[in-house]
Symmetry: C2
Subunit: 348 residues, 2 copies
DNA sequence: CGGTTTGTTGTAAACGTTTCCAGCTGCTGG
DNA sequence: CCAGCAGCTGGAAACGTTTACAACAAACCG
């Protein structure tokens, strides 16, 4: 037998002396005579029968599996998403397939195309960048997709986005309110959507606060602890009194570099991060950070996807794509306590 | 059509004017006449054909999917494992199914049983506790399983374990060498395997160092940042000069509680953690920690599983179960710098 | 008591592949 | 000129389910 000796509906039928149709019916809780049910149940139990999910999937065209593709499972932001998604999908009876794209665009496209192989019923994709090929692949996707990230208008796909413009602005405004006037910015790569948006938020907030934009106070680097430390070295000559970092890892690296130089946080320089990951709480002093709602976004994305799946084959035409934005939330901790000589302005 | 309008091998056959058998052969790179190949290839491309993985799985009895079940994806240790496993499986052409058991034993058993549904070709299980039911389920599992954790002898299953006894001992010995004499211990639940082993390592090392075992210096709690902070409050009256924590999260919570009370680290009290997660590096001062090799274990487990999968149906009898132990590694950071008055013994 | 209903059952088709087998074509070698 | 052979090809079975359909028995009603 090509099967691993695994019992099937056929073996049960033989043992119980009924047809495979009856076995299937009994096992799926449909009507049958008293003793038929009894016999089938017992045979199944004795053989230790477990229905073959693959065969079932083939029959009814669904796998009860969902795929989540993100750039890097090492990043706490994505871990938070995985966690939230997993909670939702598990409750709904779906399994979760994890795919790490290593932030490679081709990999993201491959995942999108592989939706066609019917391995999973739907996909949550977290692209690092959106190219024309992405848009093309998204519009022609073989199954429901939800994108976590910002999509251009007109792409017929549900999406969940973070408001990192507003989030950055909140952080900068907070630093300003607590008396900081030379607010430096350590950003990630500016050619990614998040990088661009955070930059936008930073500039907007500076203007709103009436502060000048000083190029010497801005560093672009990649996301990572070491990069944060390196950036500090470049920024210190510009004499900042606050550091806003596009990410907690950068903030942490920066904070360590400062402390190692004897700079006091927050007395000399305030430090704020972004994402409010476990690292922010873990740092010393604990880091003020902007929570962009990774958990919320993950949960919301999963809900949208499940919703698509359920309203499938309903009235015919699919409902229009929905976009949901998770509001940012500023979490103030010790790393941005006001300077003693600051005007503790509570007004906007 | 019950299918979503998705092209199949049949549509290609029709369009190319050949039989489905020929399509299958061409697509699988078997011999065919020049123009048959040509026609099939073109038809497939024009229709945007993607092979249905479910049908294929049903046919040849393998899904090219692997399952990893762990207690909590929020824990950095498991994230490290996921990452390592993902890297290996991806390279081997397998997808990774993630399952979070929330540390619930029934959930672990359910995963084990669900191996029979043929959803995945193999399972890596990270159980929090091993009950008799686990052993029963493991021995009768419907497919290859690798356990990350310690298994009693005689269970016919590959396993990868951490040497947390030795790891704990290393940490305690290190603290002793750097001049500490009242070494407190914040442990996780003692009824889990890791909890028990860490306790064992702690006691063994104390004895080896000639230090007395003082109950007032030991706290059992659950793994979590807040628990670490709470434990410190209970320990301080016992006047420890070092804190060994069963996990980085505990260590971090403890460190924060100490710093908040004005206790200096490492001058007044040294702090060491375990797991060497990102948190250890992130803390201030950076935390000494024992790396139990989460990555290594994950990678090794994946390799063992893949190996089982390949040597399947070979000579007949399966090779005996293998057990691999990841050696612990002490990572010394600032949080355990020697006290100034310490005998900086480098011997042993 | 015959016709209709109701409930239970079995046969067979279908899902989309892969693959065994047999048949066909066109050669080659005798 | 024909046997044999190689290369291609198509038909059909198989993987393990679910389910439409038909068959059949028993029970009911008039």
């Amino acid at each position: 037998m090509p099967n691993g000796g695994q019992p099937t509906i056929v073996s049960i039928a033989a043992r119980a002396g009924v047809s495979i149709a009856s076995v299937s019916r009994v096992l799926n809780g449909q009507g049958a005579r008293r003793d038929t049910v009894e016999r089938v149940r017992r045979a199944a139990a004795e053989l230790g029968y477990v229905p073959n999910a693959v065969a079932r999937s083939l029959k009814d065209g669904r796998t009860r599996q969902l795929t989540f593709a993100m750039p890097d499972i090492g990043n706490p932001v994505y871990v938070a998403m995985v966690r939230a998604i997993q909670a939702v999908t598990k409750a709904a009876g779906y399994r979760l397939l994890l795919h790490s794209t290593d932030a490679v665009a081709e990999d993201e496209l491959a995942v999108l195309h592989s939706l066609g192989d019917r391995t999973s019923d739907g996909l949550i994709l977290c692209p690092i960048r959106i190219t024309d090929e992405h848009i093309e692949a998204l519009t022609t996707a073989a199954g429901p997709v939800v994108v976590i990230g910002s999509l251009p208008d007109g792409v017929p796909v549900d999406s969940v986005r973070a408001d990192s413009v507003a989030g950055s602005a909140m952080a900068v405004a907070h630093l300003f309110r607590t008396g900081r006037r030379r607010i430096a910015f350590i950003n990630g790569p500016s050619d990614t959507v998040p990088g661009h948006n955070r930059d936008l938020g930073y500039r907007t907030a500076l203007t709103a606060c009436g502060l000048p934009h000083d190029e010497a106070l801005v560093v672009h680097t990649d996301f990572g602890i070491d990069s944060g430390a390196a950036a500090v070295r470049r920024l210190l000559p510009a004499r900042p009194d606050a550091l806003f970092c596009a990410n907690d890892q950068l903030a942490l690296g920066a904070a360590h570099a400062l402390l190692a130089r004897g700079v006091r946080i927050p007395e000399d320089i305030a430090v704020a991060g972004m994402d409010d990951s476990a690292l922010a709480q873990a740092g010393w002093p604990p880091l003020t950070s902007v929570d962009l709602g990774s958990s919320t976004r993950g949960r919301r994305a999963a809900e949208l996807l499940l919703d698509r799946l359920e309203t499938r084959g309903g009235t015919g035409t699919a409902p229009p794509p929905r976009t949901s934005t998770a509001p940012p939330r500023l979490v103030v901790r010790a790393s941005t306590a006001p300077t003693t000589d600051s005007p503790i302005t509570r007004t906007a």
